[in-house]
């Protein structure tokens, strides 16, 4: 079924690795970037939208996420629903390794999906919570650009923060 009824309207998205995804309009509208695009170009809904910054792996995960959350929102709000949402989110994040988590954040940022972004930010924060400076550097892929003196000074200044840090195990 392509364009007959508005409710089942599909939008085609093409990822960086040239996979095409057909999604329902409702889901595509979760992506604020795309929503804005359509608001400004109402006739463009037939075209395939290129997403050069998103891989297919990321996009499929994101589509899954949005679908589930739309379904949750369609039901009545209640504490049990909230509980389910929380569980879903936890599972969603737990399954990803650090690399995919990072890619997901970049994709979510590009597509501008607020709820997912917030959730992922929190997830990243949880992953680096209480970890050593070295771990954080590796996680973020950052180079230490301090001179030894600067580094010593900064560490001394923040001495109070260094207690109880998890030992690195990876």
């Amino acid at each position: 079924m392509s364009m007959a009824a508005v409710e089942t309207k599909k939008i085609t998205l093409r990822t960086a690795d040239n996979h095409e995804f057909e999604v329902e309009e409702a889901i595509a509208m979760e992506f604020s970037t795309i929503k804005t695009f359509f608001d400004e170009n109402p006739d463009a809904s037939e075209d395939t939208i290129p997403l050069p910054n998103v891989t297919s792996k990321c996009l499929s995960a994101i589509i899954e996420y949005c679908k589930s959350h739309l379904a949750f929102r369609a039901r009545e709000t209640s504490s049990s629903i909230d509980e389910q949402v929380r569980t879903y989110d936890e599972e969603f994040v737990k399954a990803r390794d650090n690399e995919s988590l990072k890619e997901l954040i970049l994709a979510a940022n590009y597509l501008n999906i607020k709820a997912l972004l917030d959730m992922l930010n929190q997830a990243v924060a949880d992953r680096i919570k209480n970890k050593s400076v070295e771990y954080v550097r590796r996680f973020f892929g950052l180079e230490n650009d301090y001179t030894p003196e600067e580094e010593a000074a900064i560490r001394a200044e923040n001495e109070w923060a260094f207690e109880g840090v998890d030992p690195d195990d990876d």
Binding site: A125, F140, E143, I154, A161
Partner: protein, 492 residues
């Protein structure tokens, strides 16, 4: 410009008007015409001094007064007696002094400050003795400017403010603010990993060199160190690089950034001079003070969040996109994944972390340090950790406060009969410490219990940086409910 000339012998002061810019010779001539009694000596026998001790020496009679350190409104001693003022010793060796001193603690906007300070001397190449003056003031700390021979040992010379005045006169009013913004943009690009680049010679340019066509649109090229190395090795000059075009439009500086080989987006920024120039000005003026007063003055008299905003705007709008594009196009590895995120998002990740983790993040790298020292972030963390303290002022270094409360909380109860547990309590903190269970007695008070608690280390009056609004509060409130201070705290 107007100058005051005081006769060294008679102490009589004349006010004379000289053109601006004015040469040394012109000053001599104008003064000799103004002298009440005719004198046999020619104008050239007039000797000047700024401090009534050392001779004000001009490298040539046509040297401009500004270049030897004289500005409008200055008081200059003169004498016809050539022996009165002692000639200066050469201070040429100061020219090689390095400007950018490593600051021990890295202040929040250190990258901006250092870069802009580095760049300004290059700007002054046309004024031959300016770099000297500039570097000398950079080296002054407190009372040490007695070491400078050539220039007056007067208060105002310890401030770079006079330099700004000179720059303004030399550059004309509408030029200097734009240049300041442009230099600051350049600083952000340097901080992001770019280096200045001359496409013609293929060489890296250190230091800022503004082409002469300013204020017409000018272009500055940037490349990445890895690309330059590759170019050297392969001997080719074909790799892509980034170009920034600066253009002024009224009080806006428009910056357009793109890759020279095209194929990437054009990134445009419009920076409002009215908004940022005053702040950048203050950063520059405070640079000297920041260096010497490392540990104690947390209340910089420039709005840090404006500098942060500027950094954020330029970084997210220009530096990061260009960096990503350039890396992508030239096959370099992209900058670290999460660092490609806009600043807002990075901050949001930090926001989700507890305070101690944020402090540790500062140790990771300098960009993280800048993010992790954001004052508003720490204010939020403080509130989360230690509860809301409505009686506190809205200004102050929240990270320091957090630190102190954290430390105090760890100490065993017996050891703190009174709130003396601060490590770095020499600078005024802004929260009222309360011991008595009487929150509503006092009228509007700013500051702490200095009249009630003799043991308190906070000394009145609490320093308030000028120009900042103080929130008024109707009485004293209890502070630091969760800061366990020992016995007898009133948790109202």
């Amino acid at each position: 410009m107007k100058l005051r000339l005081r006769n060294y012998e008679s102490k009589e002061t004349l006010r004379i008007q000289v053109p601006s810019p004015c040469s040394f010779l012109q000053l001599q001539e104008t003064l000799s015409l103004s002298l009440p009694t005719p004198h046999p000596s020619p104008p050239s026998s007039l000797r000047f001094s700024l401090n009534a001790k050392d001779l004000l020496h001009a490298p040539s009679p046509h040297a401009s007064l500004q270049s030897i350190g004289v500005s409008s409104g200055d008081l200059i001693y003169f004498s016809l007696n050539p022996m009165v003022f002692s000639p200066i010793s050469s201070n040429q060796d100061l020219q090689t002094a390095t400007l950018v001193e490593e600051t021990n603690e890295i202040p929040e906007s250190s990258t901006n400050q250092e870069a802009s300070a580095q760049e300004l001397p290059q700007l002054q190449e046309p004024m031959s003795t300016e770099p000297q003056v500039f570097q000398e003031t950079e080296k002054t700390e407190g009372t040490e400017y007695m070491d400078i021979d050539a220039f007056a040992v007067s208060e105002r010379f310890s401030e770079p403010y006079f330099l700004r005045k000179v720059l303004k006169e030399e550059l004309a009013d509408d030029g200097s603010n734009h240049k300041l913004l442009a230099i600051a943009v350049h600083a952000v690009l340097l901080e992001s990993g770019f280096v200045g680049f001359d496409p013609v010679s293929g060489l890296q340019i250190d230091g800022f060199h503004f082409p002469d066509e300013w204020p017409s649109p000018v272009s500055i090229c940037y490349s990445l160190p890895e690309l330059l190395i590759n170019d050297d090795n392969s001997g080719s000059n074909l790799t892509d690089y980034a170009v920034l075009k600066f253009q002024t439009l009224g009080h806006f500086v428009q910056v357009y950034g793109s890759l020279v080989k095209g194929g990437s987006g054009l990134y445009k920024l419009s920076l409002d001079e009215y908004r940022f120039a005053p702040t950048l000005d203050l950063v520059w003026a405070n640079f000297d003070k920041n260096d010497s007063t490392n540990d104690n003055n947390n209340n910089n008299s420039y709005p840090e969040n404006e500098v942060f905003e500027f950094w954020k705007i330029v970084k997210d709008g220009l530096a990061l996109p260009l960096l990503i594009d350039l890396s992508y196009r030239t096959g370099l590895s992209l900058p670290a994944c999460l660092m490609r995120l806009p600043t807002e998002l990075k901050l949001r990740i930090l926001e989700s972390l507890p305070g101690a983790d944020i402090a540790r993040m500062g140790c990771v790298c300098s960009e993280m340090q800048y993010l992790a020292s954001n004052n508003d972030l720490w204010k939020q963390k403080f509130r989360e950790e230690f509860g809301d303290c409505p009686g506190t002022m809205e200004i102050g270094n929240w990270k320091e406060m957090f630190n102190s409360c954290w430390e105090s909380r760890k100490k065993p109860k017996r050891a703190i009969p009174r709130w003396r547990g601060f490590r770095r309590v020499v600078r005024p903190f802004y929260f009222p410490i309360r011991r008595d269970p009487n929150p509503f007695l006092a009228p509007v008070m700013i500051g702490g219990d200095y009249d009630r608690l003799p043991g308190l280390v906070l000394a009145p009056p609490v320093y308030v940086p000028p120009g900042l609004r103080l929130p008024r509060f109707q009485g004293r409130r209890n502070f630091g409910l969760h800061c366990n201070l020992g016995e007898g705290q009133n948790n109202s």
